[in-house]
Symmetry: C2
Subunit: 199 residues, 2 copies
């Protein structure tokens, strides 16, 4: 519809996740009227992120060095290992400031429909990390959906017999939410996981 370069940009933007044709057009026109320096900077960070950022050789988190900031942080405990699907999940948990251990990023969840089995995830690396006996608790923090639950169940079975306590993040009502709007599975989990408060 547009002339050469504008259409090329709309096409490329439309390949990004969550960007439909309308958004792509909107962004392209924003780029057209933006300062050249701003666009230059965006183009620069796009290529830079590909050349600079790799994955931490220990935990699989995104990192600019061979090891990530968290793995290198001496104030963080090596006793507790929190297993997550993606690097995004590390950031979400870090935001809570509740966890001072280390992470292990699987790089996804078991999803047979998309052809992702245990061998496609960093499970072998997890087993190697746990082999030296330093870790005293493993927290399975995969997503509370079918794939995440399947992955947690698989990992719990793998870890059984290693003598390391394994826990799973609690499911229940989101704080600040409304009980009547909770779906029945979440509400069921909240009942199941209810805690005594009279003690």
């Amino acid at each position: 519809m547009y002339e050469g370069a504008v259409q090329d940009l709309i096409d490329e933007l439309g390949r990004l996740p969550g960007i439909g044709p309308k958004s792509a057009q909107r962004i392209a026109f924003h780029v057209l009227s933006a300062e050249a320096a701003d666009v230059e900077r965006l183009a620069h960070v796009l290529t830079e992120v590909k050349s600079k950022v790799r994955f931490c050789e220990v935990c699989g988190n995104v990192s600019e060095g061979t090891r990530c900031r968290i793995c290198l942080d001496p104030r963080r405990s090596d006793d507790v290992l929190c297993v997550v699907e993606e690097a995004k999940d590390v950031v979400a948990i870090e935001r809570t400031r509740e966890f001072r251990g280390k992470y292990h990023v699987l790089g996804g969840a078991i999803n047979p429909i998309n052809g992702i089995g245990p061998d496609n995830l960093r499970i072998r690396e997890l087993m190697t990390r746990l082999a030296d006996g330093e870790v005293t608790e493993v927290i399975l923090a995969t997503d509370p959906n079918i794939e995440g639950e399947a992955t947690a169940t698989y990992l719990a079975r793998m870890l059984r017999g290693m003598g390391i306590p394994v826990s799973r993040l609690a499911s229940g009502l989101p704080v600040g939410g409304d009980l009547e709007y909770a779906d029945e599975i979440t509400l069921g989990r909240a009942f199941e996981g209810r805690r005594r408060i009279d003690a």
Copy 2:
């Protein structure tokens, strides 16, 4: 939250219109796992669009040359001029295949709240184009909202006395829509603009 380059990319993406922090993060992680060649291509078209694309010196539409494809097209009539706010509107009208005249892109609409007055739009250029008397009809196709209506009213007043018939796109019920869901202003306009079908 993230290390250097990843956070830089998230920040830059978050400056684009319609991209919130969550989308920016999602796109950044997509970029991290995408093929280097694909990211390179996106970075390339971003800078290329800035260097290649300019605005047509006649109509103000986006163009890779000094004049746009539509202005250069000898099959298009010079008699009818369609005045729009943005280059996007040209594409929308072209899609209808109803219009075979030329365009004039104002570069926005009168919006006192955002400090956009008539002098910030390409109205002087419009007057110059109309001065030679070749145009026999002006269609005001600004948006059917407050700013677009104000701009159309302003232009209609400017053009009065030039002896050129001026029309405005019809307002009414959207085709394929449902009468009961139409807002009262649209429905009011549809009544106002009703057409006899018995003749």
